[in-house]
């Protein structure tokens, strides 16, 4: 089966006088049809830059410095060769946006225009990317609200009359208007309460099952991804540190950073443990240190880490192949068996 979106060796930098900021460095990420891939990282890890760079939405001084972003959707390729977003012109990209790849932006609740009614905003999006009569468009807008479980009467409402969760669902509905193959969601539930968040996540899962799109879910909250995603990619300082099925990541995290992340969630069930989290803060991307960017905060760092080239290798060596979905890590030093549960030194 072909993937739907294949990001290969992508690097994105921000040009600046004091030196380029290498926000994304040589990242490979593949999205299969109907799959939920979670991209997890702290603020400043480059996760949003990765998504927006791949879809060419970043403004100068951003620059894509290497790689390709291949899209395999049949409406465009008709079963033939994939198209590379990085070589497309403005017009070609415009045709892709919304119809093939849709984005639900961070702080989507503030992305709604406060002086337009919900209906008008949905119609705006529909008319910009699809051609249909006004009547059809209005029916479509109503249908979209049905899709996300908002009463049709709310079409005439202004954004401030809706709750945070509802606004988020309007954004999701808009993103689905043209029936895209890929939906990128950038921190969609960050400012929402836990109950509403749960609701939105179930909604996303249900829609995905029904309409068959793939989801790239970007967040700093690994616990959400463990529940929601099929595969997870952990990003730090512009690089991927670990990728794999969410079950593998949860049960046998290979990279010390992932281990640290898992150790940062106070859990509700099970005994009350003492948690350490991850001390320190993310590095300055202008001045990258040699080797693994996690060295200053890693409890397992040894001098050999400075020579690591950050390629992702199979966890446990070539022999430990687990089914079609590989579990990869960038840390050649630490293995799941080596690191202990609990506190990192």
């Amino acid at each position: 089966m072909r993937p739907i979106l294949e990001i290969s060796d992508l690097s994105v930098a921000y040009r600046a006088e004091g030196g380029d900021v290498r926000a994304v460095e040589h990242v490979d990420l593949t999205l299969n049809p109907g799959e939920v891939v979670g991209l997890c990282g702290e603020s400043g890890s480059g996760k949003s830059t990765l998504a927006y760079g791949a879809t060419r939405l970043l403004r100068p001084p951003a620059l894509v410095t290497s790689g390709s972003v291949r899209y395999y959707g049949n409406r465009i390729t008709h079963g033939g060769d994939p198209v590379d977003l990085l070589t497309m012109t403005h017009r070609e990209l415009h045709a892709m946006r919304w119809r093939e790849i849709a984005i639900v932006f961070q702080s989507a609740m503030n992305a709604l225009n406060p002086v337009l009614r919900v209906q008008d905003q949905i119609l705006d999006a529909v008319h910009a990317h699809l051609s249909m009569s006004k009547q059809e468009a209005r029916e479509k807008a109503a249908g979209l609200l049905d899709l996300v479980g908002i009463p049709r009467g709310r079409l005439r409402a202004y954004p401030h009359e809706l709750s945070g969760g509802m606004r988020q669902r309007v954004m999701i509905a808009m993103a689905l208007a043209a029936d895209p193959e890929v939906v990128i969601m950038d921190e969609p539930t960050t400012a929402l309460d836990v109950v509403v968040q749960r609701d939105i996540l179930s909604q996303i899962v249900e829609l995905k099952e029904r309409l068959g799109f793939a989801v790239l879910f970007i967040t700093h909250d690994l616990s959400l991804l463990l529940e929601l995603a099929d595969r997870i990619a952990v990003m730090y300082a512009g690089r991927l540190l670990e990728t794999g099925a969410s079950g593998d990541i949860m049960r046998e995290p290979a990279h010390p950073y992932t281990r640290g992340l898992l150790n940062s969630f106070p859990s509700l069930r099970g005994p009350r443990r003492d948690l350490a989290g991850i001390p320190g803060s993310p590095p300055d991307l202008r001045d990258p240190l040699p080797g693994c960017p996690f060295i200053p905060r890693c409890g397992f760092a040894v001098p050999a880490c400075e020579a690591v080239d950050m390629t992702l290798e199979m966890v446990g060596g070539v022999k430990a192949v687990k089914g079609p979905i590989g579990h990869l890590t960038a840390c050649p030093i630490v293995t799941p068996e080596m690191s202990q549960e609990g506190v990192l030194s």
Binding site: P60, P61, L63, S68, R70, V83, T87, H90, R91, E92
Partner: protein, 336 residues
């Protein structure tokens, strides 16, 4: 000092031009009248020197009554700049005080001060000026200064008020209260510093307005005809048919001076935003990437495409010649 140098380096070109130009006029205002070769009111009785073209003795020619235009312009620059800056300072100060107070205190105070602003907004300038000129004749430019100041603050006050309403709800204002700061200190040290760029822009706009309004009023004769402002020169030029008689040296220099001062202010304004915001100061990145000019609305540039391709404009034009996306595009490919 290095902060000033940093700001200067990051200003856009037009703001630099504006600043330099304005500085030149400030310089002219300060030392100009000292350099003036003649007293501007001195009427040279030599008939050959009436409405005379520019010459070595009179670099900008003479007026109909033998007065040296250059001297008049040099004095005029000082008079006009002085008037404009005084009006600017006064009107901006009042507008800030009224705007911030009414927004921060809200309630009855807001209603009251807004009412006052609105009243002043609609008072017509001309009748007021005529009245004051009658009362205060012989007091030089003061009538004009008073009228323009008194009528120039309400607009700025409304703008400052709107800005303050937004800032007032930000957490750091409430946090100042939490720390126990007094209200006046919150207004002066927490709120107003966040409005510096707005206030500076408002000041520049007011100065611009003062120049334009004073010249326009002077042009129709509503000015102290004993003082030499640029507007007065233009008044005399116009009333003595300088245009019809082709005496361009009489009205072009003062008119040009007014236009240039105004232009410099407009250009200066474009750099003002950066003064107020430390964050904006830090983030002026290059919109020129790898030798190509990239607009904010372009898709993110890709290094490989930039070096391989024709420039931005060529690419843009070229994109119209392509068929729709349904054409096969080879992966990683060739755009020809």
């Amino acid at each position: 000092m290095s902060a000033v140098r940093d700001v200067w380096r990051n200003l856009p070109l037009k703001a630099k031009i504006g600043t330099v130009l304005f500085a030149m006029f400030v310089l002219a205002a300060i030392i100009g009248p000292e350099l003036a070769p003649y007293d501007p009111s001195y009427q040279n009785p030599d008939p050959a020197l009436l409405m005379a073209q520019p010459s070595a003795r009179h670099l900008l020619g003479t007026t109909q009554t033998g007065q040296d235009v250059l001297s008049q312009v040099l004095v005029g620059i000082r008079q006009t700049m002085l008037l404009a800056i005084v009006v600017g300072v006064f009107a901006t100060a009042v507008s800030v005080i009224v705007g911030v107070t009414s927004a921060f205190l809200g309630g009855v105070w807001d209603e009251l001060l807004s009412l006052v602003s609105n009243v002043f907004l609609v008072i017509p300038a001309l009748p007021l000026l005529v009245l004051l000129l009658g009362y205060l004749s012989g007091k030089g430019q003061w009538p004009t200064i008073i009228v323009l100041s008194v009528l120039g603050w309400p607009w700025g006050a409304r703008v400052v008020r709107a800005q303050t309403l937004m800032i007032r709800n930000r957490d750091f204002v409430a946090a100042s209260r939490e720390s126990g700061e007094r209200t006046w200190r919150i207004l002066a040290f927490e709120i107003i510093p966040n409005e510096v760029s707005l206030i500076a822009a408002s000041f520049v706009n007011t100065v611009l307005y003062a120049i334009g309004a004073s010249v326009a009023l002077a042009f129709v004769g509503l000015t102290d005809l004993n003082s030499w402002s640029l507007g007065t020169i233009l008044f005399w030029a116009q009333s003595n048919q300088a245009l019809t008689l082709g005496a361009w040296w009489w009205f072009v220099p003062p008119g040009l001076a007014v236009a240039l001062i105004g232009t410099s202010l407009v250009l200066l304004n474009s750099g003002i935003d950066e003064l107020g915001s430390p964050r904006l100061r830090a983030s002026r990145g290059a919109a020129k990437i790898a030798g190509h000019k990239i607009w904010g609305t372009d898709p993110t540039p890709v290094l490989a495409q930039l070096t391989a391709d024709r420039s931005g404009i060529g690419e843009f034009l070229h994109s119209f010649s392509r068929d729709s996306l349904l054409d096969k595009t080879p992966a990683g490919g060739d755009l020809r």
